[in-house]
Each structure stands twice: as C-alpha cells, then as structure tokens.
Amino acid sequence: MSGQGETLRQRASRLMNEYEALGPRPGGEPAYTGAMLAYRQLLAEHPEDAQLHLEYGYLQECHGRNSIRAAVGCYEQAIELDPGWDKPHYQLIFARSALHESERVIDLYKKRLAAAPDQIREYRFLAGAYLSNGALDEAGKVIAAGRKLEADDDMLLTAEAQLLDASGRREEALAAWRALKQRDPHDLSPYFMSAFTLEALGRYREAAAEWRYIISWLGAHNDTVHTTWPKEMLEGIEAKLAAADADVNGDS
C-alpha cells in the first residue's frame, strides 16, 4: 500500500491511517513503528506544526488504547489460570474502565455476584467496578449490601472511604482512612488516598506529611524504586506550600 514518491508527511499520514484501521491485527504494529519514526523526524524538522503534534498524539492515543486492550486479555487469562486471585480482577476493572467499557465490566461482576452471592470478594469487585466508572449511587448500594454480609470487611471499608471522598464528604473519608491505617499498618493505600484528599482540601502541610510517611515506609522496606513518584508528589506539594507562604508574606 506504500505510495511511490510520497513525501515523509504523506508516509506518516498513510501509516497512521493503516495503524488506526489495523490496530493489533497483522500489519498494524509495523505501521505504528513506521509512523512513529516518521512523525518524530517530521516534528524535529517542524516543531511549530500544530497539525503534526495532533497526529502524533492521536497515533499514541490509538496505540495506548490498543495496549490497554491487550492488558485486558492478559488479566482475563490470569483470572482463568488462577480464579482465586483477586489482583487481576481489580486490574481488569481499571483497564476496562479506561476503555469506557463500564457496562461490560459491571455486567461481568453482576453475573459473578449472582453466581456466588456468599462470596464477599464479589461485592468488592462489583463495588470497584461502579466506583471506577463514577457510578456512586450504585457503588453505595453494593457496599451496603456487602456490609450486611461482612460488616467489618477492610476492602469494603476502603471502597466506602473512596465513595465518601468522591461524593465530596472529604472529612468523613479522611476519618475512614485514619481508621483503616490503624487496621493494617502494612497497607499504604489509606496514606495515598489521604494525601490526595488533603491536597484537594488545601491542607498542604498534612498532605506533605502523608507523602513523607509513604516515602520513609517504602525506604524502610527496601522499595526505594517506588519512592520516585511520591517524591515528585511531595515536591509539588512543597512548591504549593512555598507559594502559599509567599502569599501570606506578601511576596510578589
């Protein structure tokens, strides 16, 4: 399908169209690789060209979506091979939600709950599916039903804290995360969640304290590689703190 004597721009556009049409099918990946090379060269030559940036971005967006779809296949395979393992279910929920396939993932976990109504994990998964898709009323109903079965379930309490936060009831969410911190000192999730909520409330000093705790905990548990992103988050909060202090002091 390559054109004789086509310009680099025409080649980039043709390969992008081929990748868009083929995706993960045969011929798609070589088209993507070729298009990436062509767009990088074009952008190096014309960094001021808005159309090129748009097309290069769209190419990557298409590839990202196809990569997430490939991840879905991997998670489904992991679930089939190890049905008792929860982690691939949560990843599947995130991935399908990222693809805007909320109905599909919600239907799956509704069917699973109908088939195993005494399994608390099925309430956790379904609540997660609704939460990931912003369906807060439905998530609340699932959490409430699950807590009728196991009132003290940590994962449902975590989901409830997320629901409170998403509903704007942030002080209640913070209280829920404080309680969860006491229950499992090895679970960092409530610290991450608290950090984001505190930042959203403009309570930067407290948010910074959460990030510092996360960084020190990871360092103490030989997981410094995962401190990179928390350190960046902490730097961002410290910059906001410095800006707020400068405002108070009347600095320009």
Partner: protein
C-alpha cells in the same frame, strides 16, 4: 453503634447459636441480599448519570476518528 456494627454483632450471635447449620443459613441470607441488590441495580441508569455518559464516550471513540 452504627447499623453495620449491629449487623456484625447479630451475625456473630447467630453464628454461635446456629452451630453446624450456620454455613447454610449464611448462604441463604447472602442469596437474598444479592438478589435484592441485583434487582435494584438492574434498572437502566438515568440519563444524567455517569454510566449513561460512558455509553456516549464509548460511541465517541468510533465516531471521532477523523484526524484532519
């Protein structure tokens, strides 16, 4: 004491009283809880909801492929 605390305490007492029959009782109660929940959830999402918007977004992925 919250409603959840009360439920947890009631289940604990029930499980002690029921003895060997507890797993069957729990399964029956769970089936009822899930059936009521799923019947409630099976109503279509209202047009203003995020789930309704998700349907539109997914459709949009196919409708907005034109780059130019």
């Amino acid at each position: 004491m919250t409603g959840e605390d009360l439920t947890a305490r009631m289940w604990l007492e029930l499980s002690a009283l029921a003895g060997d029959r507890w797993p069957a009782i729990r399964r029956a109660a769970a089936a009822r809880i899930a059936a009521d929940l799923l019947a409630d959830l099976d109503r279509p999402p209202p047009p203003a909801s995020r789930l309704h918007r998700e349907r539109q977004l997914r459709a949009g992925q196919f409708c907005h492929r034109e780059v130019a």
